[in-house]
C-alpha cells in the first residue's frame, strides 16, 4: 500500500511523458536523422524527397526500420540501447533485406501478392554463390534496387523497371577491369544495345521484349547453359524453335539459337544471313562443296527471288497509289504474300529446302497477282493521261476556231465601216 502511494506525482508525470511524447512527435512527423543527413554530402546524404519517394516510406517504415536508433530525439539518435546499427555493410545487406522480404508472414501484412523467394533465388545465382564465398564485389540487393530511394519495379523511374534493367546490369558488367577479375567479357551491354530486342524494348517501348532478366533471371541470375538457350528463346519464338528441333542442327549446335544468332547482339537477319556469302551464318560451317551448303544456297536463292517479287510489287503499288489509282485489292494480295514470306523465313530453321519452297510457292500466287494489279493500275493511269488529249485537242481546236473567227469578224467589221464613211462623204458632197 505504501508502495503505491509512493507512486509519486513525479513518477506519474514520467509515465505520462513517455506515453505522450511519442504521440506528440508522431503528430509532428519528426525525423532527426533526416534533419542532419539531408545537409551532409556524398554517400551520407539522404534527403527528405528520397525518403518520401521510397516505397518503404509509403508503408510507414522509416530510417530506424533498417538502421535502428531514435528518430525523435536528436540527443539519443544513436545512443547505446536505441538499437542503432549505423552503416550497414555489404555483407549484411541480403540478410537484412531478407529479414522482411523472405518472411511470408511479414510480407503478408504489406503486399500479399509479392513473392518471398528472392533471397533463396539469390543464393542459387552466380552473384549469390560468389557472395557466399565472401566476395563483396558482386551485386547485392541495394546495387540493383537502390539504397534509400527504392521504388516499385513497375515505376518507370526504378532501376529495375524493364526499360532500365539493362542499364542497371551494365553498371558492373560493362566495367572491363571488374569483369576481368571474373574472366567474363564486358561486351554484353554494348552488344545488346545493338540488338533488335533493345530496339523493341528501349527505343519502341515494347515492354514484352526481352531484357537481361528475361533470359538470365533476376534474383537467380545465371547465364543459360548451352542446352537451355533454345528453351529460353522458344518462350517467344515458338515456331522457330519447333522447326529447329526437327532440323539436323538441333543435335549439333552446342549453343542452340545463339550459334547463328549470337547471344546478345541479335540483329535482324539481312538478305545474306542464310547463304554462303561472307558474313553469313551458314557460311561459318558449310561450303559450296558439301550438300548442306548447296541447300543453303538454294534456300537463299528462292527467298531472294520472292523478296524481289514482293519488293517490285510494293514499289509499283506505291507509285500507282500516289498517282491517285485505287490499289486496295492489290494491297490485300501483297499482305498475303508478305505473310507467306514471314512464314517461309520461320521455316528456314528446318534447314530443308522443300519446306521453304512450299510456303513461297503458295505465296507466289498473291505476289504475282499484286504485281499485275499494280501494272493494271499504272496502265489505267497512262490511259487517263492519254484519253485527256481527246477533249483537250477538241478544246484547243475551239480556241483556234474562236481566234480565227474573231479575226474574220473584226476584219469584215472594219471593212464595212470604211465604205460607209466613203458613202457618207459622197452623200454629203
Amino acid at each position: 500500500m505504501g508502495r503505491l502511494q509512493t507512486m509519486t506525482v513525479g513518477g506519474a508525470l514520467r509515465v505520462a511523458v513517455v506515453l505522450l511524447v511519442p504521440s506528440f512527435s508522431v503528430a509532428q512527423n519528426k525525423n532527426v536523422c533526416l534533419d542532419c543527413h539531408s545537409k551532409l554530402q556524398g554517400s551520407l546524404k539522404v534527403t527528405a524527397e528520397q525518403d518520401a519517394a521510397a516505397v518503404h516510406g509509403h508503408k510507414g517504415m522509416s530510417c530506424v526500420t533498417c538502421h535502428g536508433g531514435n528518430m525523435q530525439d536528436e540527443a539519443r539518435a544513436k545512443a547505446a540501447g536505441s538499437g542503432f546499427r549505423g552503416h550497414i555493410s555489404r555483407e549484411q545487406i541480403p540478410q537484412l533485406c531478407g529479414s522482411c522480404h523472405a518472411d511470408v508472414n511479414s510480407m503478408k501484412r504489406f503486399n500479399p501478392s509479392l513473392r518471398t523467394d528472392q533471397l533463396a533465388e539469390y543464393h542459387t545465382s552466380v552473384h549469390g554463390i560468389q557472395f557466399a564465398k565472401g566476395d563483396v564485389h558482386v551485386a547485392v540487393c541495394t546495387d540493383c534496387h537502390g539504397v534509400h530511394e527504392i521504388r516499385a519495379g513497375s515505376d518507370p523511374r526504378s532501376p529495375v523497371h524493364p526499360l532500365n534493367v539493362s542499364k542497371t546490369c551494365q553498371r558492373c558488367h560493362s566495367d572491363a577491369a571488374l569483369m576481368k577479375t571474373y574472366r567474363i567479357a564486358a561486351t554484353q551491354y554494348a552488344d545488346y544495345t545493338d540488338s533488335v530486342h533493345h530496339e523493341a524494348m528501349v527505343v519502341r517501348g515494347d515492354l514484352s521484349a526481352p531484357t537481361c532478366s528475361t533470359c538470365h533471371g533476376s534474383h537467380g541470375a545465371v547465364p543459360p547453359g548451352g542446352g537451355s538457350v533454345a528453351n529460353v528463346c522458344s518462350r517467344c519464338h515458338v515456331l522457330q524453335a519447333q522447326f529447329f528441333d526437327e532440323s539436323p542442327h538441333k543435335a549439333v549446335f552446342a549453343e542452340g539459337c545463339a550459334t547463328c544468332h549470337s547471344s546478345h547482339k541479335i540483329k535482324h537477319p539481312d538478305d545474306n544471313f542464310v547463304s554462303l556469302a561472307a558474313g553469313s551464318a551458314c557460311g561459318e560451317c558449310h561450303t559450296k562443296d558439301d550438300d548442306s551448303g548447296r541447300v543453303a544456297e538454294a534456300i537463299h536463292g528462292r527467298l531472294h527471288k520472292f523478296e524481289v517479287q514482293v519488293a517490285d510489287a510494293r514499289v509499283l503499288l506505291a507509285r500507282a497509289e500516289t498517282s491517285g489509282m485505287d490499289v486496295a485489292d492489290a494491297q490485300v494480295l501483297l499482305g498475303q504474300a508478305n505473310d507467306s514470306l514471314t512464314k517461309a523465313r520461320v521455316r528456314v530453321h528446318t534447314a530443308r529446302f522443300e519446306k521453304v519452297n512450299a510456303e513461297l510457292d503458295a505465296g507466289s500466287k498473291p505476289a504475282v497477282a499484286a504485281l499485275s494489279a499494280g501494272e493494271a493500275a499504272m496502265k489505267e493511269r497512262s490511259f487517263r493521261r492519254r484519253i485527256i488529249f481527246v477533249p483537250g485537242i477538241a478544246i484547243l481546236a475551239v480556241v483556234l476556231a474562236l481566234g480565227f473567227y474573231i479575226r474574220e469578224l473584226e476584219r469584215t467589221e472594219q471593212g464595212s465601216q470604211r465604205p460607209s464613211e466613203d458613202a457618207d462623204r459622197k452623200m454629203a458632197a
Binding site: D326, R385, L402
Partner: protein, 361 residues
C-alpha cells in the same frame, strides 16, 4: 425564213426577248492597255459554273455521313466511270476560282473601279469573295480524310477564341463541341444549299450592277481619252468581247482537265478522330496567310490574348476592305494614294505570309 429564225420569232412574239436582249446587244467594253484585266470577273463566273456542274455530278454519288463519306469519294475516284475526272476537276477548279476571285478583286482595287457610282458593285463583290472562301472551307471537309478533319478542327477553333461569343460561334459551326459527323452534315448543307443560294443571288446582283454602270475605265486612261476623244476605243460585248472571253474560258478548261489527269487530287486516308493530329497540319493555301499570322503573333500583347487580337485584326481588316470606297472618300484628296498603298501592302502581306506559311514546318 429558216428554222432558226422561225423559232426566234415564235419566242419573241410571246416573251419579247429582243427587247430584253437589246441592251446586251449594245453593250460595249472599253479597250486600252489595261483591258486584259477585264477577263478575270467572267473567268471567275465560268469557274463557278464548272463548280456547279461538277458539284451536281459529285452529288449523285457522294454520301454525307461520317461513316460513308470517305468511301463514297473513294468510290467516285476509283469505280465510277470518269469519276476521277469529275472529282479532280472540282477540286482544282475550286482552287483556281479562289485565285481568280482574289485576282479580280485586287485588279479592281488597283484600277480603282470601286469609285462612285460602283460602291455597291464592290461590296457585292467582296461578299462574293467571302462566300467563295466559305465554299472552300465547307467543301474541304466533305471527303472526311485526315487532312480535312484536322484542318477543320483547327479552322473552327480559331473563331472559338473570340471573347464572349467565340465558344457559341464554334459550337454552331461544328454542330457540337467537337468536329464530328454532325459537323459534316452541317458543312454539307452549307456547301450544297445555303452558300449556292446566297452566291447565285449575289452573283445576279453583282452582274446587274455591272450592267447598269458599265465597265469602268482606269483614271489615267480616262483622262487621256478626255484629252483626245479619238483615242477612245470600245468593242461590242456581244459577240466580240464575249468570243474573246470564251477563248479564255476554253483555255482554262483545257488547263483544268490537264491538271485532273496529270496532278490528280489526293484522296488521303480516312479521318480517325481518335488518332493524334499529324505533324505540320496546315490549311489550304488560301487560308495560309491568316494561319501563319496567328502562329507568329506573340501569346500575349498588353495582357490580351494574341490569337484573339489576330482574329479581331482580320475582322477589322475585312471590314475596312469592304468599306474601301467610303474610306477613300473619307480620306479626302490623298485618299486614292493611301488606298493604293494599302492595297500594295495587303497584297504583299498576303503573298509573303502565304509563302512563309507554305515553307514553314
Amino acid at each position: 425564213m429558216d428554222a432558226a429564225a422561225r423559232v426566234q420569232m415564235w419566242i419573241d412574239e410571246r416573251l419579247n426577248l429582243q427587247e430584253l436582249l437589246a441592251p446586251l446587244r449594245e453593250k460595249t467594253v472599253p479597250v486600252h492597255r489595261h483591258s486584259q484585266w477585264y477577263f478575270l470577273g467572267g473567268l471567275t463566273l465560268f469557274l463557278f459554273t464548272i463548280q456547279l456542274c461538277s458539284g451536281v455530278l459529285l452529288l449523285l454519288y457522294y454520301r454525307p455521313s461520317a461513316n460513308e463519306a470517305f468511301e463514297s469519294v473513294q468510290n467516285i475516284t476509283n469505280h465510277v466511270q470518269f469519276g476521277w475526272l469529275v472529282r479532280s476537276v472540282h477540286s482544282w477548279s475550286a482552287n483556281l476560282m479562289v485565285f481568280c476571285a482574289f485576282a479580280h478583286m485586287f485588279s479592281v482595287a488597283f484600277a480603282r473601279a470601286y469609285r462612285k457610282p460602283r460602291e455597291l458593285t464592290w461590296m457585292t463583290g467582296m461578299f462574293l469573295l467571302f462566300l467563295v472562301l466559305g465554299f472552300g472551307f465547307s467543301g474541304y471537309l466533305l471527303p472526311w480524310n485526315t487532312r480535312a478533319y484536322f484542318a477543320t478542327k483547327v479552322g473552327t477553333e480559331v473563331p472559338g477564341q473570340l471573347p464572349v461569343v467565340g465558344h457559341w460561334i464554334m459550337v454552331i459551326m461544328r454542330g457540337g463541341e467537337d468536329v464530328t459527323g454532325a459537323t459534316l452534315t452541317r458543312f454539307f448543307a452549307l456547301h450544297v444549299t445555303i452558300l449556292p443560294a446566297l452566291a447565285i443571288g449575289m452573283v445576279m446582283t453583282h452582274l446587274l450592277l455591272v450592267q447598269k454602270f458599265g465597265t469602268s475605265v482606269p483614271a489615267s486612261v480616262e483622262s487621256e481619252w478626255q484629252a483626245n476623244p479619238r483615242l477612245r476605243k470600245e468593242i461590242k460585248f456581244f459577240p466580240n468581247f464575249f468570243l474573246r472571253e470564251l477563248m479564255g474560258w476554253y483555255v482554262v478548261l483545257a488547263f483544268l482537265i490537264a491538271l485532273a489527269a496529270f496532278l490528280p487530287w489526293e484522296l488521303g486516308t480516312k479521318a480517325d478522330p481518335f488518332a493524334p493530329a499529324p505533324a505540320g497540319i496546315k490549311p489550304e493555301w488560301y487560308f495560309l496567310a491568316q494561319f501563319q499570322t496567328l502562329r507568329m503573333i506573340p501569346a500575349k500583347i498588353f495582357h490580351i490574348d494574341g490569337e484573339v487580337l489576330g482574329i479581331l485584326g482580320f475582322g477589322l481588316g475585312g471590314a475596312l476592305w469592304l468599306a474601301l470606297p467610303f474610306i477613300e472618300t473619307l480620306l479626302g484628296t490623298r485618299g486614292a494614294r493611301y488606298v493604293r498603298v494599302g492595297a500594295v501592302l495587303a497584297l504583299t502581306y498576303l503573298a509573303s505570309m502565304s509563302v512563309i506559311g507554305y515553307m514553314a514546318k
